[in-house]
Symmetry: C2
Subunit: 329 residues, 2 copies
DNA sequence: ACAGGTCATGTTTACGTAAACATTCCTCGG
DNA sequence: CCGAGGAATGTTTACGTAAACATGACCTGT
């Protein structure tokens, strides 16, 4: 900086002012400084800047090994929104979802150069963490539950599940089976609960849910079971991957979709329109979730005490060809 | 730090030594300092640390909006490897692959707190960038071509494509069609070239390639064309998503897989084992690519002039049920 | 017993920046 | 024609850390 100042014939402070776009610098001076910067290929040192300003202009994102597609798209939206706001994004990967790993990530975070943290993770691990998040830095939790301790941004899982079940009931199915996600997933729980509640409200008795682990393979195994039940004409799968496996199992067992069995998924992954048959599913707006996460932490940084609360992002039913009225309807 | 020093009854420098795990501190003193740290909930200021040390312990990753699955898994591996080496990873998203956006990301990078950069991007955009990467900081390019200017880590695209084609020829097919990726993708080019070369080497005349854009939808459209050709009994798709669309098109047109047509994909995405039928494909080791990228930049940081070179990560053919000998063989 | 050495710890300084305060110079009203 | 006020710029200082150098205690061998 002093080199630039010398070349431009001004003080270092003036260079700083130009560098930060302050008013009160003559156009003439500004130009000279900018020329000198270009000449010397000057780049502000972000470490010194951060030290002086007390902020890093960086957001930390804690996430499991970029496992599920939803998390990835949320992360992508976070990175894009953050960049737009002039913030960088630092990844804090948690290799395996064990308590030790989470504790490790949190303690690393302690000395990491971040102004705020966005957590994309199942919160039961958050709760059980022995190392807590550094106090005083804003936290927003995405796609999970966080009680009333943190601000939460989430897809309206319950609304989406309700739409899926309603869609099937409206087609005339007498009940809807559920291919649920893993028990330790909060999203899976909420989808399952909404499925159960919607059936109950309609005066129906929910059949026992079949459980998978989000993978297509687990959906296939579950599908082999469901294919054995002639009374099963409609299935709501908790995500599109499991729905894919389910479609394969039904096909192998000779149960045609949608003529004999209707299937609805959740997520609307890009491939779901190319399944056999194209999958009716619940579209999630991950981009909006990510945007709101960034907005959330940035707001928290400005205001002193932001009230913890939950923001829900609505879903949308995408109707394709895997759903139809039940046989003989 | 001085507070900790005071509480522990030592100098700030001793605190620094303990904090950095230096030898030459009495066990007794170390314990007292650690106690004081805990007591005061001390966390080293990473900005000051970076300023003093002249390094950030951070890697920048330039990537397109986390578009393709391969990029994502590479990123994941990079983040994990970096964390293991004590480095954080900062994301530099490029929202849309235009020259302006790339230039913008590069100039942002100039004042970003990173010690090295890993680029996961098509290099024709790199080449055409008007803003260049800051000189002097190590760069490794993943999954792309970079001439001889940068170190490159890549999957052995050619080897994988060759294996795919050989597998089909060995089964007895008289030729192999190719569902290619977009022309501006270097990976797509290499896969297409290797396909062509392998056929030529076998004394065959390559049929005209059909081009898609990596998406399942484009694979579907291409598949409708291929389904019309009775002489088409074997297709090598440049990625699994397009193979998925292809399978749907063939199924809709009544051409059974693998009895009438064999299909091989590329990538081995987790879902490919659940396609109808399960897809024979080329497995890529993204984790290894990511690991080597990190290893590469870290090495460059230590040595003065690392020679640019290309490291290829081998692929592996995963044989499932979408391939069989041609009809009447 | 003392020179020479080693080890644990303390003191000084600089990293590059931006806030706070200081100075200079110019303009404008009375 | 002078002094008040303000705009442009300069000077000083502190942010938290770690390298470099300095100090002092203690040990060893002759």
């Amino acid at each position: 900086m002093s080199d630039v100042a010398r070349l431009a014939g001004v003080s270092a402070q003036t260079v700083s002012r130009v560098s930060n776009g302050f008013a009160g610098v003559t156009e003439e001076t500004r130009r000279q400084v900018l020329d000198a910067m270009r000449e010397l290929d000057y780049r502000p040192n972000s470490a010194a800047r951060a030290l002086r300003r007390g902020e890093f202009r960086t957001l930390g994102v804690i996430t499991f090994s970029l496992s599920t597609l939803g998390n990835i798209r949320t992360l992508d939206a976070i990175a894009t929104s953050a960049a737009r706001a002039g913030y960088a994004v630092t990844l804090l990967p948690v290799a395996v979802p064990t308590q030790d790993e989470v504790n490790g990530a949190f303690s690393r975070l302690g000395e990491l150069a971040v102004d705020a943290v966005i957590v994309i993770m199942e919160t039961h691990l958050l709760d059980a963490a022995t190392v807590s998040l550094p106090p005083g830095i804003p936290v927003v939790v995405a796609d999970s539950d966080a009680g009333d301790r943190y601000t939460v941004v989430d897809t309206d899982q319950a609304g989406g599940a309700r739409d899926a079940v309603r869609h099937l009931l409206d087609l005339g199915h007498t009940t809807v089976w559920h291919l649920a996600g893993p028990e330790d997933s909060f999203a899976a729980q909420r989808r399952a609960n909404a499925w159960r509640d919607t059936l109950t409200e309609a005066g129906l008795v929910p059949p026992p849910p079949v459980r998978g682990d989000w993978s297509a393979e687990s959906g296939y195994r579950a599908g082999l079971l469901l294919a054995e039940r002639p009374d099963c004409t409609a299935v709501f799968a908790a995500n599109d991957q499991m729905a894919l496996g389910l479609l394969r199992a039904l096909h192998e067992r000779g149960r045609t979709v949608p003529d004999e069995v209707s299937v609805v998924g959740f997520d609307d992954i890009p491939e779901s329109g190319s399944f056999l048959p194209p999958l009716t599913t619940i579209h999630q707006d991950f981009a909006e979730v990510g945007r709101l996460c960034v907005e959330g932490v940035l707001t928290s940084m400005r205001r002193p005490t932001p009230e913890p609360g939950t923001t829900l992002v609505p879903t949308r039913l995408v109707s394709r060809r895997s759903t139809a009225p039940p046989p003989g309807h």
